[in-house]
């Protein structure tokens, strides 16, 4: 286990060190102490390493992640795991706005609540939120799965393309072109797998599925102002 004191050693040194790890690195376990809400912790990683952040983070923690597992033992500020490509990011506490935004792949697990715009423009990432998500979550979502074990705020899935949204609790309102859809066996299977990988104790049958009505794909005069 390598321990990195962010306060003493600085952010630039941290990210340079972590980004320099190769595919075959033997230094696979890293611990970051004294994060003190700093921005851009553990961004741009591209190696199969495990990074544990001992505390809460600021903006863009684990952004652009590839392969690595980043575990935040606290809450995360705006844009956690933004544009993640692969790997896993786990947040023990809450996540602020636009968690997992534009993510192409990998798994983001938020054990608390996520605030507004969770999964905005997601492009293949899987996001599992054990609590609630705020308004405009999965706005313009294109691909991937958003699983919400609690409630979803206003305008869920507004202008959604092809992502799948699973919500166990209440949905305050659905956004434009987002509708409830039939839960078929393959969806239950996907959901079971995601819940299991996230360590969530919930039954897939308790969820409802939402997705695109595909009415915004082509120009429709009724949608024009």
């Amino acid at each position: 286990m390598q321990t990195f004191d962010l306060e003493a050693q600085g952010l630039r040194a941290l990210n340079e060190t972590l980004q320099a790890q190769s595919q075959q690195t033997n230094e696979t376990a890293w611990e970051i102490v004294n994060p003190r809400g700093s921005h851009a912790i553990a961004v741009g990683l591209d190696a199969p390493i495990e990074v544990t952040v001992k505390g809460s983070t600021g903006y863009y923690c684990a952004g652009m992640n590839k392969q690595a597992t980043v575990h935040v033992k606290g809450s995360a500020g705006p844009g956690v795991a933004e544009n993640m490509m692969s790997g896993t990011v786990i947040v023990e506490g809450d996540a602020s706005q636009y968690a997992g935004a534009t993510g192409h792949g990998g798994l983001l697990v938020i054990k608390g609540n996520a605030s507004s715009r969770c999964g905005i423009s997601m492009k293949g990432i899987d996001i599992v939120v054990q609590g609630n998500v705020g308004h405009m979550s999965a706005f313009m979502a294109q691909k991937g799965n958003l699983v919400v074990c609690g409630d979803a705020g206003d305008a869920l899935g507004d202008s959604i393309y092809e992502a799948r949204l699973f919500v166990r609790g209440q949905v305050k309102s659905l956004g434009a072109d987002c509708i409830e859809k039939e839960m078929r066996p393959e969806h239950l299977e996907t959901l079971r797998d995601l819940l299991e990988r996230s360590g969530v104790d919930a039954r897939p049958e308790e969820f409802r599925r939402y997705g695109s009505a595909r009415q915004l794909y082509t120009f429709d005069i009724d949608n024009a102002y």
Binding site: R36, G93, D94, S96, Q97, S116, H135
Partner: protein
């Protein structure tokens, strides 16, 4: 951007450290807006007394002002000059006459705040420098609000800095930008409410003052602001014994809150809160959009 910090103390033993804690929080937020900074501190209540905080670009203009005011008002007046600001202590019933007298005696001086306990200090410059100029770390009090500005809607000037006074012992700070401040300024002008600068936040402050003059509580005024103020905002407001937070319905301007048995704290980012005592075990959360939060002593 802009950065906001706020601290509302529940534990009296922390009151001597209010200025020091707020300054530390505000300096942490410097990179959210380095052009001007300000702080409002709610100090000790002296029965029957009130204070005016005034600003003049040339501090030499404060010389002899206490004697001149004493003469006009017919009472004892004390003045503490701090750089470009001066705090004038006087009997409560002399507050309004003193403001009138000031217009004659020092027409160039601006009233930053008025009330029984509030003092507002604000200037162009980095939070650390502004705090030093006014010796903010040594201020004591029950609660306070700080702001560091990245100007978007109007010029970088002392009067464009936050906090803005919204009435006796009241103040407002703002992160965001209002898009209908010009039309609202015209509407307020028709109602006889004067706004001094081109600044959008001053319009919001004047709007809240106007609503409260019509008999609304601060909470009600903030609620009606959700209808009448168009734009982005995270507001933090202070009153003589209270402290409130409101975010617009879109809530893209950041906000983090923390509460323990000792305090309620606000920061634009969690970074601002990390040095507070017991923060590791505090309840930390993000305030909901379009929801008025308020704490009172």
């Amino acid at each position: 951007m802009c950065g906001i910090v706020g601290l509302f103390l529940k534990d009296k033993s922390l009151e001597p450290k209010l200025g020091e804690m707020l300054t530390d929080m505000l300096i942490t937020m410097s990179d959210r807006g380095p052009d001007s900074a300000g702080i409002a501190v709610y100090g000790t209540d002296r029965d029957g007394f009130a204070k005016l905080t005034v600003q003049a670009d040339d501090p030499a203009r404060f010389a002899g002002l206490d004697d001149e005011l004493s003469q006009v008002l017919g009472c004892d007046v004390t003045l503490r000059a701090k750089d470009t600001h001066a705090v004038i202590d006087l009997p409560e019933d002399k507050l309004a006459p003193a403001r009138e007298a000031l217009k004659e005696l020092r027409p160039e001086a601006r009233v930053m705040s008025a009330g029984e306990v509030i003092e507002i200090y604000k200037e162009v410059g980095l939070p650390g420098d502004v705090a030093k100029r006014f010796d903010i770390p040594h201020l004591q009090g029950t609660h306070g609000i700080g702001h560091t500005r990245m100007a978007t809607e109007s010029a970088v000037t002392t009067l464009g800095a936050h906090p803005f006074s919204t009435g006796p012992d009241q103040c407002l700070v703002h992160n965001g930008s209002l898009s209908n401040h010009n039309s609202l300024r015209r509407k307020l002008a028709r109602e006889g409410v004067r706004v001094e600068t081109e600044n959008d936040t001053e319009v919001a402050a004047a709007y809240l003052t106007w609503k409260m003059q019509q008999g609304h509580s601060l909470g009600e005024a903030l609620e009606s602001g959700l209808e009448d103020l168009d734009g982005f905002y995270t507001f933090v407001v202070g009153t003589k014994d209270g402290f409130g937070v409101l975010r617009d319905p879109i809530a893209c301007k950041p906000a983090v809150m923390a509460e323990t048995d000792q305090y309620v704290a606000f920061g634009s980012e969690y970074r601002a809160l990390v040095n507070l005592p017991g923060i590791e075990d505090a309840r930390v959360w993000e305030p909901e959009p379009a929801t008025v939060y308020f704490w009172k002593h």
